[in-house]
């Protein structure tokens, strides 16, 4: 097993953080999250459907706040004010739990983070005693600024949300890792297990994903694949990979051959 990670006041055993969106039903959600081994699980805050059967199962019935560290997000928010409002509602909803995933997006085609509004919201939330894990672009300067504001984790995208394209700019992620002391977690863009491993081999503290698991043909099996991929990538990072060489280097001795 790899070591634990500390995010703000929360200690996590798993470096895989997972979302709860896009599953067929709550049963599949629950089985996939279980198979992922994740301790930190994201959720969204939305208007209650007033017409619904009040006894319909709720996300928090299957993803218990007693068992998982919940990470409410501000997905869908397009202004700092909306994001701050959503975080305050989430804190009330979860009885004072002050950990949030801040994301402010600018438009629907790319869901690219609006870093101007994100910076504004981050300042307000940190001042209001939230522990902020922040979704951002892979711009190293913005990442550094978010750390200096006081965010407890900085989460650059690997590729657009839900795209499954894998890490598009590993050099920027590497640069962010070199500059920051707080955990750097790749959030968004992972498509399959090897993408998650690449992020971990770079030295990221963790990876947050949703669609790669939820939209796999078999989400529960993919959740397990991701768990192994994250652990594998982390171990490879800790072990330290061999240098790349241009030419072959024989694995068997070149002496003592029969003649």
């Amino acid at each position: 097993m790899t070591d634990k990670i500390q995010i703000g006041s929360h200690e996590l055993k798993s470096r895989l953080l997972v979302g709860t969106g896009k599953y067929r039903d709550l049963d599949e959600t629950s089985r996939a999250i279980e198979a992922s081994g994740a301790d930190m699980v994201t959720m969204a805050v939305r208007r209650t459907n007033l017409g619904q059967n009040p006894n319909e199962p709720n996300l928090l019935d299957v993803i218990s706040p007693d068992r998982y560290t919940l990470l409410p997000n501000t997905a869908g928010c397009r202004t700092a004010d909306d994001a701050v409002r959503t975080c305050r509602l989430a804190r009330e909803l979860l009885d004072g739990h002050n950990l949030v995933k801040l994301e402010v997006i600018s438009e629907s085609r790319t869901l690219y983070p609006d870093v101007v509004e994100t910076l504004r919201a981050a300042r307000t939330l940190v001042e209001d005693n939230f522990e902020v894990m922040v979704y951002t672009s892979d711009d190293p300067l913005i990442a550094t600024e978010l750390e200096s504001i006081g965010c407890v984790a900085v989460m650059p995208l690997g590729a657009p949300i839900g795209s499954g394209l894998g890490l598009q700019n590993p050099y920027n992620i590497r640069e962010i890792l070199d500059n920051l002391k707080v955990p750097v977690i790749v959030d968004a863009g992972v498509g399959t297990a090897s993408d998650a491993t690449v992020a971990m081999e770079l030295g990221c503290e963790g990876v947050l994903m949703n669609t790669a698991i939820a939209e796999a043909n078999d989400p529960v099996t993919m959740a397990r694949a991701m768990r192994l991929a994250i652990e594998s990538g982390r171990l490879a990072y800790e072990a330290g990979r061999m240098p790349r060489k241009r030419y072959a280097d024989s694995s068997s001795p070149e002496t003592g051959l029969i003649e």
């Binding site: 979302g19 969106g21 969204a44 009040p54 709720n58 919940l70 997000n73 509602l89 009330e92 839900g162």
Partner: protein, 65 residues
Amino acid sequence: MQVSVNGQIEEIQAQSLESFLGSKLLLGHRIAVELNGEIVPKSQFSSVMLMDGDVLEIVNAIGGG
């Protein structure tokens, strides 16, 4: 009187927030309530009276990434 609840205008009798939430079968469920832009802590549901023109937002947790 009229209040706005999650963007819908509703005609209701004057009552406490608690009894309004009770009428929607929401008491005891994991929700958070914002009244005119301010969070109302659960402990204050019974003491807050709804007024004509109030704007309520009632939210819960759902799946998301």
